[in-house]
């Protein structure tokens, strides 16, 4: 597949991998405007150095984000560096819940909370084996809006997933995985409509991979 030379993300077929064979987002970059191109291609370059997280927090955040996004092996989207850069620059949405710290502190507090949970099994979170990490996270999710280390669990969950998904799905490799062509200026789309493709788009090779139907089988 042509995207392969650019390091397509590993994703096995059972989890939705290989649905858009040969779809190459970055190969279309000559059709993008300069300002957008520089913003998007920067995400493929060297990730920004970690400035906000301590080394220990970086380890916890890396394990957390790998779990949230199912990134088990290289190449990865450097999600933690992207989150760290936002927090270092305080590039948040500004608001915070009454009774919960602003995003930067909430990140630190919640990473500490994960280590506390992990300690019960004798590890820090980052060194907990994959299934143990998954179980800790599922337990946080299952708390719903109950308290978790003094915070509303669902708000912590939403903080994590918001930052993690924003970083991951801003990356051209992730777009290739979902059939999204990314920037569309100045070219635009000439062929909108049900089951209609642009010449550079690739049809889903497995249109019946409906997550619901697969869940039933």
């Amino acid at each position: 597949m042509s995207g392969g030379t650019r390091g397509r993300l590993p994703l096995n077929e059972a989890n939705g991998g290989g649905r858009f064979p040969g779809f190459d987002v970055v190969g279309q970059s000559k059709h993008w405007d300069d300002v957008t191109t520089s913003v998007v291609l920067a995400r493929l370059g060297m990730p920004p150095d970690i400035r906000f997280f301590s080394a220990a927090e970086e380890a916890t955040a890396s394990a957390l984000c790998d779990q949230l996004l199912g990134q088990r092996q290289e190449p990865r989207v450097p999600v933690v560096n992207m989150i760290d850069a936002r927090l270092a620059e305080n590039q948040t949405d500004g608001w915070h819940y009454e009774g919960m710290a602003p995003d930067r502190q909430a990140w630190r507090d919640s990473l500490a909370g994960l280590n506390q949970d992990a300690r019960q099994s004798g590890h820090v979170f980052a060194q907990t084996p994959w299934p143990g990490q998954s179980a800790i996270l599922q337990a946080v999710l299952d708390l719903g809006s109950h308290q978790w280390h003094g915070m509303n669990a669902s708000r912590v969950w939403s903080l994590w997933t918001r930052y993690a998904c924003t970083a991951f799905y801003s990356h051209p490799w992730a777009w290739e995985e979902i059939g999204f062509a990314g920037p569309a200026y100045p070219r635009g789309y000439k062929n909108p409509g049900v089951d209609k493709l642009e010449p550079f788009e690739v049809a889903d090779a497995k249109p019946d991979q409906d997550p619901l139907r697969r869940g039933e089988s």
Partner: protein
């Protein structure tokens, strides 16, 4: 009726093709702080820019200060979701109440053009019933003006944006200056599903030019409307009102954060505004102060402008400032099809129905909702999927299915309530000013509307052939917080947007709206501002 160009030349002052007229900015009139301008306007968004353009045309010396930048779409905006974070108002705010409303990207903009820079582009009118909700339905409030008072201004603004859409059968039936756009996969699914359910749905109304308008180009259907339209096809005041304002001698002063409104204790009149520009304090003198900073910043500014005469905040003698703030319940329901919908290949605003807008006596709730196409891009879509509890492998797998999904959004007519309000927090911003604390709690009627809207959207998507539907609860738009009323005990401004407490202080943004209906608010905000400007210019509102 005069032609659009005769009353607002903006589209003809822009260069042919994308981009701004840099000449207009270079030649822009620049008032001095010490000049007593006829009017200083706080905020250059939907309400503020409309006001500026009207006043400048009438020959007033007027300057609009905006806390954000003077955008150049060519260099400052990108065709990318994550790269558009700078379009939002991201100063610190606290949210509370039983149902806190997240802010930021969801509902607040900054910079010249205001929130319309990244609004979707739906521009429906309010229904006549929205103006007399209390007398008709026994909930909410009545406006001190009627639909007919706004009607000519609706038509004017629809011409200036301009708006495209089918003939509109709901509310006060009307037609639009431009023909409807062709629809994409998402709009098509909505139309199919509506047909199958016996629901009337129509294409529009959107402030996206269908065809060339002045020098503005046609939409290229690239789907990044919520990231700012680099093409100049989608209307925002930056291209629809600011160019004409500048050409007529109005000034737009960007990067200027207004921190206080000064009132002369002796005369009781406003004398101008304090503002911070590039770290330095300034004071702009003015004969009249017009506030248009949107529903959170407008009440915050009033509360932060307390004085000896107004110890609890400017215009707050009756504890009305910041109250009756509203969001619309905006659940989004998505449906999965075996066919490829590719909802990102079009402007998100395409098709809507207002069939459920009015109170239905057969239902246990009052008022109603509208349904529209929304078409989230990948990051926003991932939020949808994550909200269903998917993460890890499940999330990736669900996301790989993106091209098969179609997505609708509802706007529920949440009722105005006194305890939904902005107050000042103990936290301060970088100017040392208390930040806004915004509390929101839904009432039972609000919750019932959310559920009803979800079930209609599910029906439509199933009707179109979806095998699975998922819903995320969201909230959109902000109006109220300094509402218009017939008396000073019930609101902050009168029918002409003049504050009850200070005769030369006006508010002309979304915060003056007493109710919101199920319509997106920008058109109404502009129409209210245009009407207030007319009143000012005619002198009928002069003290």
């Amino acid at each position: 009726m005069t032609g659009v160009r005769d009353r607002n030349e903006s589209a003809w002052l822009l260069p042919a093709g994308p981009g701004l007229n840099h000449r207009l900015r270079e030649d822009m009139r620049a008032f001095n702080d010490g000049d007593e301008v006829d009017a200083v306007i706080v905020g250059c968004g939907a309400g503020g820019a409309t006001m500026l353009q009207r006043l400048a045309r009438a020959g007033w010396s007027a300057v609009a200060l905006d806390a954000g930048p003077f955008w150049d779409p060519e260099t400052d905006w990108v065709s990318d979701e994550a790269g558009s974070h700078h379009l939002y108002w991201t100063e610190p705010r606290v949210i509370g109440g039983d149902d806190p409303v997240p802010l930021g990207s969801n509902n607040s903009g900054r910079g010249v053009g205001g929130s319309m820079v990244h609004y979707a582009g739906y521009t429906p009118r309010f229904h006549p019933s929205d103006f007399r909700m209390h007398s008709q339905d026994g909930v909410g409030a009545d406006w001190p003006i009627d639909y007919t008072d706004l009607k000519p201004y609706y038509a004017d603004i629809e011409g200036e944006l301009p708006v495209s859409g089918e003939d509109w059968p709901w509310g006060d039936p009307h037609s639009y200056p431009q023909r409807p756009h062709p629809v994409s996969g998402n709009g098509d699914m909505f139309l199919r599903g509506a047909l199958a359910c016996g629901i009337t749905a129509k294409v529009g109304p959107v402030a996206i030019s269908n065809g060339r308008f002045g020098n503005r180009p046609h939409c290229i259907y690239r789907g990044f409307c919520l990231q700012g339209c680099k093409v100049n096809a989608k209307a925002s005041p930056l291209i629809t009102h600011v160019p004409d304002a500048l050409a007529r001698g109005g000034e737009v002063r960007a990067d200027s954060m207004v921190t206080g409104i000064e009132v002369d204790e002796r005369t009781g009149r406003a004398t101008g505004v304090r503002y911070n520009r590039r770290g330095r304090e300034h004071f702009q003198r003015a004969r009249m102060v017009i506030v248009a900073g949107y529903s959170i910043e407008t009440p915050r500014l009033l509360l932060n402008s307390a004085s000896h005469r107004f110890p609890d905040g400017l215009c707050n003698d009756f504890d009305q400032v910041g109250r009756y703030l509203m969001v619309q319940g905006a659940p989004q329901t998505a449906g999965r099809f075996d066919a490829e919908v590719r909802m990102f290949k079009a402007p998100p605003p395409e098709v809507s129905t207002e069939q459920f807008y009015e109170t239905d006596p057969a239902k246990p709730y009052k008022r109603g909702f509208s349904v529209q196409t929304v078409s989230p891009l990948p990051i926003t879509w991932a939020e949808h999927v994550a909200a269903q509890g998917h993460w890890g492998d499940g999330l990736r797998q669900y996301m790989s299915d993106y091209v098969h999904w179609s997505c609708l959004g509802a706007l529920c007519d949440f009722l105005p309530q006194p305890h939904n309000r902005v107050i000042l927090s103990e936290e301060k911003d970088r100017f040392g000013l208390p930040i806004a604390h915004f509390n929101y709690s839904q009432c039972d009627n609000d919750k019932a509307l959310m559920r009803a809207a979800q079930s209609v959207m599910e029906d439509i998507l199933h009707g179109a052939g979806a095998d699975e539907v998922i819903t995320i609860d969201r909230y959109a738009h902000l109006v109220g917080g300094a509402r218009m009323a017939s008396g000073e005990q019930d609101g902050v401004v009168d029918a002409n947007c003049r504050s009850f407490a200070v005769p030369n202080l006006y508010i002309t943004d979304g915060s003056v709206l007493p109710t919101q209906g199920s319509a997106n608010p920008a058109l109404t905000i502009m129409a209210v501002a245009a009407r207030a400007a007319d009143r000012l210019i005619q002198g009928s509102a002069h003290d």
